[in-house]
Symmetry: C2
Subunit: 461 residues, 2 copies
């Protein structure tokens, strides 16, 4: 070989970053391509969205993390496609040749074919998503404080979270705490504690991947915080002033101005490029079906890891899209590459070591599923705290996050509740809604067309 083996990694998430770190000890030349200049600790992103932490607390600049890995070059760029025949990764503004390609570009939320909902019901995948959700939550309370019509105030103070997985559970728990504790003394007109928080889940229980008894405990904990938990309910429409829910009994409408999306997972667009160029098979979420060594069948030089990969265990159920899977796959991919470069036999097939799952439900409450060991409440919360702190990449982040958690625990405060970005003031409270109904009395005191409309509806045929 006249050049060192070139490994190109797409994505600096859990999988890509741990792979790059592991490759620092191996004689290969590594290029890590990411659109963002930082690794994001996504499990805590909901804490940014709810004003408990700052984005920088859970983000580590990729160049800083990898600065001593002298064989790793970080490249800020957008991977647009793959040319498997010529072994090149195609960027927005160039190409990068590879000998081994590892695609770890992850997944994003999706709207089940209703992309038009994205503007009204933001998901939580990026730092910008988190500060956008933070802005919407805080502006809803501000709008309620200024609104004089009680009916319209109630709409501002209703929050709907779609999706009862860990993100939805954690978001609704944090939101309930903000309303009940953090904002308790902040307003002069409204009582933030009267906010209505509705968590909507399509299956018959929240945290559906956990054991049923932990789902039940999580539900009880949320309800104690004042969250309305609706299971077996699908969202059939998202409008400016309401969401339409479909239940076994029919459809109903929940009036709200703030809908947060924590449902649906869609693989990054790069999986389609892999299907086109390398004949990769995709599952129904767009994830790439990989072999036992995480390679794309027929292309031993292309590996897929993390949320983008669909790795089917002996049991037949694909591994979930969680950080521990991505980390273990990243380390495994490094072993595969090392074996090839050094001419050693390939490692045995990848096996996921499930160390358990944790989800937190607000203050001092969580559920833990550690195989046979299942527990909840304060001990689970302490475990959650410790595991998340220890997995933050930078030691400084651990100190900062610990300090802020301790402070929030003692004072109920959430210091990072800043309204930032483009729209800084509450929007108009009244006006036409996308569902065709006029919201509220107009500013000249004319009778509410909306109320008339709903009267008509109720009278209906």
């Amino acid at each position: 070989m006249d050049h060192p083996h070139r490994v190109v990694i797409v994505g600096g998430g859990f999988g890509g970053l741990h792979l790059a770190k592991a490759l620092a000890r191996i004689p290969v030349r590594v290029t890590l391509v990411d659109r963002r200049n930082f690794h994001l600790f996504q499990p805590l992103l909901y804490q940014v969205a709810t004003g408990a932490l700052s984005p920088a607390n859970i983000a580590a600049p990729l160049r800083a993390v990898l600065k001593r890995a002298r064989n790793v070059q970080v490249l800020l760029g957008e991977a647009k496609g793959v040319d498997a025949g010529n072994r090149r990764l195609i960027l927005g503004d160039g190409e990068v040749p590879y000998d081994t390609l590892v695609v770890a570009s992850g997944a994003s939320h999706h709207y089940f074919g209703h992309d038009e909902w994205a503007a009204r019901a933001p998901g939580l995948k990026t730092v910008e998503d988190a500060t956008d959700i933070r802005r919407r939550i805080l502006l809803a309370f501000e709008a309620a404080e200024r609104e004089t019509v009680p009916e319209l105030r109630r709409i501002w103070m209703t929050f709907v979270i779609v999706g009862g997985g860990p993100t939805g559970v954690e978001l609704s728990g944090a939101l309930a705490e903000i309303a009940r504790d953090t904002l308790k003394l902040d307003f002069r007109v409204i009582d933030p504690g009267a906010a209505r928080i509705v968590l909507v889940e399509g299956t018959d229980r929240i945290l559906p991947t956990y054991p049923p008894e932990l789902s039940a405990k999580a539900r009880t904990a949320l309800e104690r915080l004042g969250v309305t938990v609706r299971t077996g309910v699908l969202v059939s429409q998202v409008e400016t002033c309401c969401v339409e829910l479909r239940t076994a009994a029919g459809t109903e409408r929940v009036e709200t101005r703030t809908v947060l999306w924590a449902a649906g997972v869609q693989a990054s667009a790069l999986s389609h490029a892999l299907a086109d160029t390398a004949g990769a098979e995709l599952d129904r979420n767009g994830r790439v079906l990989v072999g036992p060594d995480l390679t794309v069948p027929g292309h031993p030089e292309i590996l897929v890891i993390g949320d983008l990969a669909c790795f089917v265990h002996g049991t037949g159920r694909p591994l979930p899209g969680v950080a521990p899977v991505a980390i273990q796959q990243g380390r495994y991919a490094a072993r595969v590459i090392a074996a090839r470069v050094k001419g050693r036999p390939a490692p045995p097939p990848f096996r996921y070591r499930d160390r358990g799952n944790l989800a937190t439900i607000g203050r001092a409450s969580a559920v833990a599923d550690m195989g046979r060991l299942r527990f909840s409440g304060f001990p689970a919360w302490l475990t959650w705290l410790f595991v998340h702190l220890m997995n933050l990449v930078e030691f400084e982040s651990r100190l900062l996050v610990l300090l802020q958690w301790a402070w929030a625990y003692a004072t109920f405060n959430r210091a990072a509740r800043l309204i930032t970005g483009k729209e800084l003031l509450p929007g108009p409270t009244r006006g036409p809604c996308s569902c065709g109904i006029w919201l509220g009395a107009d500013t000249h005191g004319a009778p509410s067309r909306r109320q008339e409309a709903s009267k008509r509806e109720r009278a209906g045929p």
Copy 2:
């Protein structure tokens, strides 16, 4: 009186916030109007722009700070004008009646009639400004790392800071440290330490409001960090690829893609409303000339404090637009209002107690002007540290900022260097510049029109 005295404060900066806090003990009804939901500690904003701190570390939610001041209502809204005849503050979406109005809406940077420069040379007044500048600085290094033509790489690695006041001095010092220390090991192609940082000041010395010997010390400290200090130089043009400087010797061009604006102060637009409705006189920066009790002459019910006020001392020089002036004026305004409400004699005219000025120049270096006591270096830096920490509004912020400073001091790291917002990738390195010259060779390898153009220029008439 059948209603309590209504005080309306515009602006939750240093002046407005300290006034509102002081009024909490007085039987008046207070409305504090601000566009933003937080008080911003502007003296540390350059640390957000240079990745040392997060926005939330220097921002305190107004509602949280004032939650126990039960007679103070915070109103998130934009003050658009004043109707002095009817004693009403006009908002974007309504009006607020007052008995006493205190305008503390501050000032922003201005471009000496060249508003078109704003897009190319952002100023530093808001949280969004700071994260925008942070993005531009980091993207410039990223673009340099990807650029292959050395001449173009040099342009990306040249930074021009306009304005040699405290903000410009602190920005250029921090930028030099980022280049020399923080990013030292981060890149594989460029040497960030080779970055060129040019500080441009129109008068004959930087920190012109400080004693000359401290200006000289600050200059030496900056030069030791590698900053090129240019005094007696005005900016006559800001283009995409360069700035044009006017010196005593003529004009010259500095090629750069990153210009930061730290010059010029312009009073908020509300001063013009006060001129129209209350006959207030404005100085050439648009500040409102106030009487000895901070009222608008002829309108004892309207006070102006902080950066928006032009208060002329016995000496004839107006007070500078710094935080201590605003804080003392806020407290004084509360005394004026208390005396009126309680029917007591008015307090003696406002007098500013100047406790000194501090400016920092990077790591462990600062200048302090405490009247007769003038010092620099490490002791000044410790004083700067202590004064700034103690003036942060929230105790939690003090701990968080102290922890991050200690960490940065020990490790040279700046953890908050995230590229966030809309444009996440470096823009095209080559293309037409607004000055009419084409930047760089085009992507098909044709000879550089820019180089040809500069050859023609050099050959000249």
